[in-house]
Amino acid sequence: MNSVLQLIMEGESLTTAQMAEVLKISHEEVEKQLAQLKEQGKVLGWRPILNPDMDENSVRAVIEVKISPEREGGFDRLAQRISQFEQVENCYLMSGGYDLLLFVRAQNLRKVAAFVYERLATIGGVVSTSTHFILRPYKEQGFLLSGQQGNPDKPMISA
């Protein structure tokens, strides 16, 4: 793996100058590796991982969608079309009881509902939907939300 990527994946927030120091490479090299990652498409973008518990302005839902496959392209056209909606944060083709799994975010419950019955369910080829609202997050993209891990009273110095 690209050494800059490996460092970032460890989850500490370091400036590119600090990354250069830690990795013992030049600042330019860090920038170059970052640019490369985007160019190769390995990294799609950079954004912080927000704590959903602190976000009072949106609700999230998971939607299972059944669609009818098409003669050419199978599920791709519909999946790509559904992915276009800004409310859809993730969209996956699944094996099993339904076809697409969507992670959807909107300002409130009503707006999620409106998205489902006005936008999603009305698309030709969408057979059925099943919407589940997310009630409480416990882990977000690898980060536990149950508070600090480890012993906060660990002595400052030990042998």
Partner: protein, 391 residues
Amino acid sequence: MKDNSQRFVAQHVAGIPRSGIRDFFSIAAEMKDAISLGIGEPDFVTPWHIREAAIYALEKGKTSYTDNRGLLALRREISKYVEKRFEVSYSPETEILVGVGVSENIDLALRALLNPGDKVLYHEPCYVSYSPSVALAFGEAIAVPTFAKDNFAITPEALINAWQPGCKILMLNFPTNPTGGTVDKKALEKIAAFVVEKDMVVISDEIYSELTFEGEHTSIASMPGMRERTILLHGFSKAFAMTGFRIGYACAPAAIIEAMMKIHQYCMMCAPILSQEAAIEALRNGESAMLEMREQYHRRRDYVVARFNELGLPCHLPRGSFYAFPDISSAGLSSMEFATRVIHEAKVAMVPGTAFGPSGAGFVRAAFSTSYENLIEATERLGRWLDKNRK
């Protein structure tokens, strides 16, 4: 009322000097806003699958004593692990003892082997418990100083020079706490040959062996003539980030294990069963998490050692452990003064080298078992402090 109870304390215990850094520890404990490079344990929490195994054991009602030597299943795993890693094989039935950390096993080994007045050679700077443990077992500890120029490895010549009649045990700890020193195979072979010649026993504390960054760790137990005279001590605290589980083990010939067992069975009975269950999980499935942690220590080491050198605090490259041991003599202060001023004025906690024996003078121990963010900020603070306080 005045406490007069000191008069009841046994002479040999009263005679053990109060650890020179206890005062420093109390100062450090108050400095809540300092960044600590003083912690001698992993910053990682024990990998979840290991914690989960302990929880599962608790759920299953595993709350009893175990065989004094430890669960047979654990001793079997230890036997396999040690054979693979150290290339020496030990019988799970008779040659392995599970105890409460390497700490307990050090004490057991010394008490099992020493007659009053027997001499014990050890290299210094070293882990704080060695010389007091020897004294508590009525032995006489003889330090062999090691130096930065040798990467804090004990040289065969220094050992031969320090030897005197009555020396029964040689204690080794590679990679070393506090220096990160290791010893190369050739030198270790010479040391082994000398130990055989003088018919000594080696207590080899290899607790940091997995955290060797360059080259392979070699155990002295695997060298010719050594298995019969080595007590190999190892544990889970460092490599698997399990300090709080308090579990470690000794591998040695049956008669020695039996002698250690006699003491262990009366003073400890057995290691906690939950920790033993967790240890089984660590040995069966812990390798990948362990390697990931090692990788992080490795990179942090490269960073922090380079920074110390840039700051004009010459620092040898520790080949193992999570400790750097920079030379601070250019600041013109003793280790204790330096560490005390730096914690107060720069708000960075490090342990004075003299905590690990007089030959640690002129050095401090900086543990890099902490985040990059902390390492970066700590070395920056140290740099600013040095600029101000060094002519």
